[in-house]
């Protein structure tokens, strides 16, 4: 099967490594919130202010911004914009691409210097690249993870919920 059509399965032990990396980044920079997204906008995991309810929409918008910047890069004959910085009155967002698959995003306020964020995000990006490489290499069969009856149950749920 086309590898681009298969799912990306992130095992529990790798999620733990990712979470430790995000916690370290938040603590060392003093950032409020750190997210790891897939380029499709799905949130892999997030660390920080637990009160945030809007992370699904945040993930979709940040990934959209990044995908849009990739197209701008192409028009400028630039290979890629690897990082994006958005400055607000209270909070700032720094976004960094991991390989071509994941997006690391840190939200921080005036108390944190952007230079520190850039340096520590680079380190985190390097660490997460190694994790991504491992996730890509492992070839777990879907049925091992989901169970063979998953599809039938899923179809029943779809029929139940998606109706007028």
């Amino acid at each position: 099967m086309d590898p681009q059509l298969t799912s990306q399965i992130v095992p529990a032990e790798e999620i733990k490594v990712i979470e430790e990396c995000l916690v370290r980044l938040a603590e060392d920079t003093g950032g409020n919130y750190v997210l790891l997204l897939d380029k499709s906008g799905q949130v892999i995991t997030a660390q920080g202010d637990a009160a945030r309810q809007d992370i699904t929409a945040l993930g979709a918008l940040i990934a959209g911004t990044f995908a849009s910047s990739r197209e701008v890069a192409k028009l400028l004959r630039e290979k890629d914009f690897r990082q994006l910085f958005t400055q607000g009155v209270r909070e700032n967002i720094f976004i960094s691409l991991i390989e071509d698959q994941w997006i690391l995003c840190i939200i921080f306020n005036k108390g944190t210097h952007i230079g520190l964020v850039k340096v520590l995000t680079k380190k985190a990006t390097d660490d997460l690249s190694v994790v991504l490489e491992r996730v890509r290499e492992q070839q777990k069969a879907r049925d091992d993870v989901l169970g063979s009856s998953f599809r039938t149950s899923m179809e029943d749920t779809i029929d139940l919920l998606f109706r007028d």
Partner: protein, 191 residues
């Protein structure tokens, strides 16, 4: 590609509604948003121009709850249909697991449908995916418009790959859930 988070026991899938301008992509999402149970849907997010045309995308997260122990989420997006936003459509398509192609059944829109479908094929191929294998469901929308092209004519020009296709009138909801069910099941079958 779909994302399976084993630790959180979550599955995320991305479905994109594609098609020419004014074919009814946003109307599909609005109808779904108005009908699904409150606990299933998130907020419908629209980035539109002042005249309510989609500028970047509409976004509707649907949470199907736990299925065999896995929290399953579908994220529905629309692309902006207007010709000038081609690069934006590429951006929204990034990482999609399946596409609903919303075609406009009106006679004078046939060429726009064909052009948009060709563009979709190019954009999917550019993502290193084989278009023939990619999950696509066709929706012939605006069936209520007088003089709508016969389904056989639309099939001839748009459905050369033999996808599942549904007739719809998105503004009153006809065919909207049939389309959504078909693409959801197709995406799940490819997980």
């Amino acid at each position: 590609m779909a994302l399976i988070n084993v630790a959180a026991r979550e599955i995320h899938c991305k479905i994109v509604y594609y098609g020419p301008g004014m074919s009814g992509k946003t109307s599909n999402l609005q109808y779904i948003h108005s009908q699904v149970p409150k606990e299933t849907k998130g907020e419908l997010l629209s980035i539109a121009t002042e005249t309510e045309r989609t500028l970047f995308f509409d976004f509707l997260p649907l949470d199907l709850g736990k299925v065999r122990g896995f929290q399953t989420r579908f994220h529905l997006y629309t692309v902006p249909g207007q010709v000038l936003y081609e690069r934006t459509r590429v951006a929204v398509l990034s990482g999609a697991d399946g596409v609903v192609f919303v075609a406009d059944s009106q006679k004078h829109k046939l060429e726009e449908n064909i052009r948009s479908l060709r563009e979709l094929a190019v954009n999917i191929t550019r993502q290193n995916k084989r278009f023939q294998d990619f999950p696509v469901v066709l929706q012939y929308n605006k069936r209520d418009v007088p003089g709508a092209l016969p389904v056989a004519t639309l099939d001839k020009y748009l459905n050369t790959l033999g996808w599942q296709r549904f007739e719809a009138t998105a503004t009153n909801g006809a065919g909207v859930f049939d389309t959504l069910k078909a693409i959801s099941k197709l995406v799940i079958s490819k997980l």
